[in-house]
């Protein structure tokens, strides 16, 4: 999947207003069984977006104008808890979201999101609620700004909220770095660590093999 740099966006935001939304709800099992990394947007919140007979559930936020065009999701605490399925990130992204703002996230989702250039923003529960209220008061017309360079969220009414992202991850998102390529800049550290460790904690390995530069390259066969 091609990475896009994440710097700043001003977009429609959809207030979800539910707590402990699990990754089974974000992308139910039936929707994730594809051995690919794309095309999961249709399955997003499947059991909430659609009734059992396949019709749209009119009360669900993403089935209401203008929220079906939202690029930012406002969520309750512990968003995307549960299963480690990375498809939860891909489904949100494929649907069109770029960012989720919540008081807290499932740890695995948080990490998966950052590594896919999808921004999870943590701000206080009352602040998420206040932004959600402003958005709803404007019937979705009021846009929310998320600025990763300044680490600020700006509500439709102009209130600013600061957030933090570990600097290492922030840079990777700003530069749209491929995580493996980013780590392989430190290949020498890996070789030195592992060869020292293979002596020091030999019990954790299976045999005396050492690694070198070639260990990171695909052979010609």
């Amino acid at each position: 999947m091609e990475r896009k740099p994440f710097r700043k966006l001003t977009e429609i935001a959809a207030p979800l207003r539910r707590l402990n939304v699990d990754t089974d709800a974000i992308i139910p099992g039936a929707q994730l069984l594809k051995v690919t990394k794309g095309g999961f947007g249709q399955g997003l919140f499947y059991n909430w977006r659609y009734k059992e007979n396949g019709e749209e559930e009119p009360d669900f936020i993403l089935n209401k104008a203008p929220y079906q065009h939202a690029k930012i999701l406002l969520a309750g605490h512990n968003f995307a808890c549960g299963s480690s399925r990375e498809v939860a990130v891909w489904a949100l992204r494929d649907y069109g979201f770029r960012c989720v703002i919540a008081p807290s996230f499932g740890n695995i989702f948080y990490s998966n999101a950052l590594k896919n250039g999808f921004l999870p923003v943590v701000i206080a529960e009352d602040d998420v609620e206040r932004i959600s209220d402003e958005v709803e008061a404007s019937q979705g017309a009021g846009k929310v700004t998320v600025d990763l360079e300044k680490c600020r969220v700006v509500s439709p009414g102009g209130c600013e909220y600061a957030f933090e992202v570990p600097e290492n991850y922030r840079q990777a998102m700003l530069d749209a770095l491929d995580p493996i390529a980013a780590t392989l800049r430190f290949k020498d550290d890996i070789i030195a660590f592992q060869n020292r460790d293979r002596d020091r904690r030999s019990w954790a390995y299976f045999g005396p093999r050492k690694i070198d530069d070639d260990s990171f390259n695909m052979g010609d066969v």
């Binding site: 512990n78 996230f105 290492n168 392989l184 904690r201």
Partner: protein, 469 residues
Amino acid sequence: MMGGETLLDKIWRDHVIRDFGDNTYLLHVDRAFLHELAAVAFESLKNARRPILSPELTFATVDHLLDTTPGRGDDTIIPNGKDFIQKLRAGARETGISFFDIDTAEQGIVHVIAPEQAVALPGTVFVCCDSHTSTIGGLGALAWGIGTTDIEHVMATGGIVQTKPQTMRVNFTGALPRGLTAKDLILHLIGEISADGGNGYAIEYAGPVIEQLGVEERLSICNMSIELSARLGLIAPDDVTYEYLAGRPYAPKGAQWDMALSYWRSLPSDPSAQYDRVIDIDCSVLTPQVTWGTSPEHVIGFHDHVPDPSQAETKREQASMSRALDYMELKPGMRIAGLPINAAFIGSCTNSRLSDLRAAAKVLEGRKIAEGVMAICSPGSAQTKRLAEAEGIDRIFKDAGFEWRESGCSLCMSGGAGGERFPDHARVVSSTNRNFEHRQGRNVKSHLASPETVAASAVAGRIAIAEHQ
């Protein structure tokens, strides 16, 4: 340095390849374990022309999608399962990693077989594409679930980029009432501090009650760390751990074992170590736990009443509880005890080990399940199944009216995916870890409990506890 080091600190510092200076680190990974849903990683790496740095440290098995019915093969009830199974097998063959295939003696749920085969060891960093990887912390390892991007990263670089979590210590004290299980302890903790209560923490479970638990029970506790939204859970290794691991297939042998042992003995937290948060749980007042809602935090004691949303502290909580009650078709103030059930399930990475099956068999021995109840047991691994059968446990289950299946995750998680599942709208009492909406089938209402409580409920045809509880 103020105070000593925690178990987490010690394992963490011995795995740091590079410190990025903002509380993020490149950590060495000792073991990566794959299952069918991670099969996409092989193709990605191949396309990027990246080899697996250490195939000998990389393992795979089939557990998530394959059927649990006898005589199973690559064909699955769950749509597309075969595609994943075959892609995993092909990837494993091509790269030379260790693969425990469908018909091998080692096959099983990752979090059951990794300790069983001693692929997982104390003091190691262990990752797998499954959130319940936290289970492995019961051996004194740092183990957590990761996504596909991260598993590819681990396979290609031998390391993982992680922020260091905060530390929480949960002390379980007091005398454990008779019949109270590890499952009850962890369910109670989730109810106490909420499904978000462990968020961002590595939780060390400690105290006299933990020390007296066997390894399998410790694994059950650490398993549900993810239901606290914790990054991981862990328990200091001790003689119970070493006795469990000695002689298992992938455990170090001879001089390597001695070396490992002396390292492992240095790992428990220093008495002066500081934690970011400490919680004490007095176990002597606890009763068997059962969930009533759609989050693991929706849990009460067996004798308690379903709570009233109007008593919730916030409007947010109130809405969440009301939604859960609607889904579960329950009313505030109802008793959970005696609620009629349609099905019972014993299995999953939480409670499907030999000790779980023995405990349930004790309840089932000489009894029959109630009429109309669908009851299924899926042992956690081929080896567990074999050992249980050698003790005649399968007979007890079958005589009681349980189906005795093969091992796999299926009935715990594939209900929402059109795989093996309970009938629509069924009320199930289940030894699993997630009571999420539709997880075990369309509109299926899952009540989480210990294997003993599941067995007693199957016999009674309603939510019940065993006589000795």
